[in-house]
């Protein structure tokens, strides 16, 4: 946020630096220093970053803690997977099935034709629209039902968690339509282009990075608009916002739907890069993991969420390779530790360090001037809330 109204634009000098560094890391350093297996893994983590960024918007700024973001990730991922699965289930490729031309798991479940809601996924155009709009539509239904009735805070978090559980059970239960607990696997081509080759993995990695930057910039625009400041205001004093003439529920509905859309894009990128989609990415555990990524990165920093996701996942991979049974405890401890010691996550630590450096520099530069607390006020405004883990 700005200290002067004249410099109030959504992209500032320091943002160029921050985005530039992230781009350098993701576009140059990682692809040059990693083999394709590791890079593909980074690509997978980056798809979680979409969700972490979406949580910065609705939890960090809007104060709406969603413990069911995995649902939206899953809706995007499944939409992509359905398209890819239909393409992988051509009559020639599935000639050995009792009903050729339908996905293998349907055949195993004695289905003899493609269910009606699978039909539109023959079209790539429809699939892209479904990825972008099904999740926000579902989010809209939830949000209208909750926010118009002024359900919020912890109650909302619990309800989103229940929805994540329900959707998981639904997917597992409807095996013939969804692939059940195994999910939708054995995906091969995207419009005839093999997504399993090393070359395709490179292309998809860069596509994922590109989408992530698009999402970051779009989110940055939303947060730097008046709507972003309104969300902070709603988080702090919902009543006051109402009496300033705003219909608070509309703003909450908007940001929740927007966050759902970002998560769904992440889900679609996951399916493309990893080559399957399953209910293990939809339920309560992944949804809460996403909240941890966001908290570690700093729930008020869009870019912090990306770093947080990468770091926690890197730690997860290293730790779970070495001590598989200890990992979950380490993750829990990490979350508690971060919330207690660094309520604003990595981004908070970064800003505090920068502030210290800045104040030592400026005090050594100008001893004559009385200390003005303008830089301090500015950086505090960038991290508006210091209260730990307070969802409402």
């Amino acid at each position: 946020m700005t200290t002067s109204s004249s410099t109030h634009s959504f992209f500032q000098k320091k943002d160029v630096l921050h985005y530039g560094l992230l781009a350098l890391l993701l576009i140059v350093i990682l692809p040059l220093s990693m083999d394709i297996f590791r890079l593909n893994l980074v690509g997978k983590y980056l798809t979680y970053a979409f969700v972490a960024v979406s949580l910065v918007l609705c939890w960090g700024y809007g104060g709406i803690l969603s413990l069911g973001q995995g649902v939206f990730f899953g809706l995007g991922g499944y939409a992509m997977a359905m398209y890819l699965k239909i393409e992988a289930s051509s009559p020639e490729a599935t000639a050995i099935q009792s009903t050729p031309g339908i996905p293998d798991f349907m055949d195993w479940n004695q289905l003899t034709e493609l269910p009606w809601f699978w039909e539109p996924f023959h079209s790539l155009g429809f699939t892209v629209l479904a990825i972008l709009f099904v999740a926000p539509l579902f989010a809209y239904v939830i949000a209208v039902a909750m926010f118009k009735r002024r359900v919020g805070g912890v109650y909302f978090a619990i309800i989103t968690q229940a929805i994540a559980a329900i959707i998981t059970i639904l997917i597992i239960g409807q095996q013939g339509y969804t692939g059940g607990v195994n999910g939708i696997t054995d995906l091969r081509t995207l419009a005839g282009w093999d997504i399993r080759s090393d070359y395709a993995k490179y292309v998809l990695y860069f596509l994922c990075v590109g989408c992530l930057f698009a999402v970051l910039l779009l989110s940055q625009f939303v947060m730097k608009s008046k709507l972003g400041r309104l969300l902070v205001a709603i988080r702090d004093r919902e009543d006051r916002v109402r009496f300033s003439g705003y219909d608070v529920s509309n703003f909450k509905i908007f940001i929740f739907c927007f966050a759902a859309m970002l998560s769904a894009v992440g889900g679609a990128m996951f399916t493309l890069q990893v080559g399957f989609m399953s209910p293990t990415l939809v339920g309560i555990v992944p949804s809460i993991e996403m909240v941890i990524f966001c908290a570690v990165g700093g729930r008020l920093s869009l870019i912090g969420a990306v770093y947080g996701t990468l770091l926690v996942n890197a730690a997860k991979t290293t730790m779970s390779e070495a001590f598989p049974e200890l990992w979950l405890f380490a993750m829990g401890a990490l979350f508690i530790g971060v919330v207690l010691a660094f309520p604003n996550g990595l981004a908070g630590v970064y800003i505090t360090l920068k502030e210290k450096l800045f104040s030592t520099l400026s005090s050594s530069e100008s001893k004559t001037k009385p200390p003005v607390d303008k830089p301090a006020a500015e950086s505090k405004a960038a991290i508006p809330n210091a209260s730990p883990a307070n969802p409402s």
Binding site: L227, R235, D239, R242, S244, G245, Y246, F254
Partner: protein, 247 residues
């Protein structure tokens, strides 16, 4: 009574919380340009009356007419758009935002989702914010975070947030509570200036302050109207003396 001259007509207003009538068959009328002070002992229902008018609490019965709009069925933000501003008892501001941003958010433009997304901080907004900031003595604190302000300054900021909306009816719940003597004086000055061309409904305990600003006084007791008129009249009303001033 004809209500064309009144900015606000409250008639037969009743609200009951689980059988307890916090406001009971209350009627009063506020003229255009009038400063009305509501007084009464603790629990008389003063704040509830303001809550009812601004839509925070829904009335069980009765009517609240603002010019020709019926408020009892309207939502909070619609009531604000109709021209009513409300100040809460404890300063209710956005502490994580700067003074400028607090005022800017209260500026009556861009109230829809897409309006807010596309909102431009143009010259009209900036001028308006500066003008109000000057008026509420916060010109030098525009870019300070609101939680760093003193209690009195926060009260002023909230008054400023109402002023920028330019409401026809201003409702203030104990505007000078917790203020120092100096701040109190400034606030009385401020209120005298801003109440020129609008109607004001004030809840206040400080009798000196009431005397300074009130045109008429309404006394509430246990949710009912006890007495109404000039401060002089009310002060000498034996019923009022008994329940309120006498103790």
């Amino acid at each position: 009574m004809p209500n064309k001259d009144f900015v606000l007509s409250v008639e037969g207003l009743t609200v009951s919380f689980d059988g307890f009538k916090a406001v009971d068959d209350l009627s009063f009328y506020v003229d255009e340009g009038e400063i009305r002070v509501i007084i009464g002992p603790n629990g008389a229902g003063k704040t509830t009356v303001l809550d009812l008018i601004c839509g925070r609490t829904k009335a069980t019965d009765g009517s609240i007419k603002f010019r020709d709009q019926e408020f009892t069925r309207m939502k909070e933000h619609e009531i604000v758009h109709a021209g009513v501003g409300r100040k809460f008892q404890t300063p209710s501001i956005y502490e994580d935002l700067t003074v400028f941003e607090n005022l800017e958010l209260s500026y009556p433009k861009g109230h829809g989702v897409f309006g807010a997304l596309m909102f431009k901080r143009d010259a009209a907004v900036i001028n308006s914010v500066h003008e109000i900031a000057e008026m509420i003595f916060l010109k030098d604190h525009l870019y300070q975070r609101a939680d760093l302000l003193s209690h009195g300054q926060k009260q002023w900021l909230e008054i400023g947030m109402l002023l920028i909306q330019d409401p026809a009816l201003l409702m203030l719940d104990e505007p000078v509570a917790g203020m120092s003597i100096a701040e109190r004086k400034l606030t009385a000055e401020l209120l005298n200036r801003i109440t020129q061309d609008r109607s004001v409904l004030v809840i206040e305990h400080d009798m000196q302050f009431v005397e300074d600003i009130a045109h008429r006084v309404t006394v509430l007791h246990q949710g009912k109207l006890l007495s109404e008129g000039s401060l002089e009249h009310v002060k000498n009303d034996p019923k009022v003396v008994e329940v309120y001033l006498g103790h």
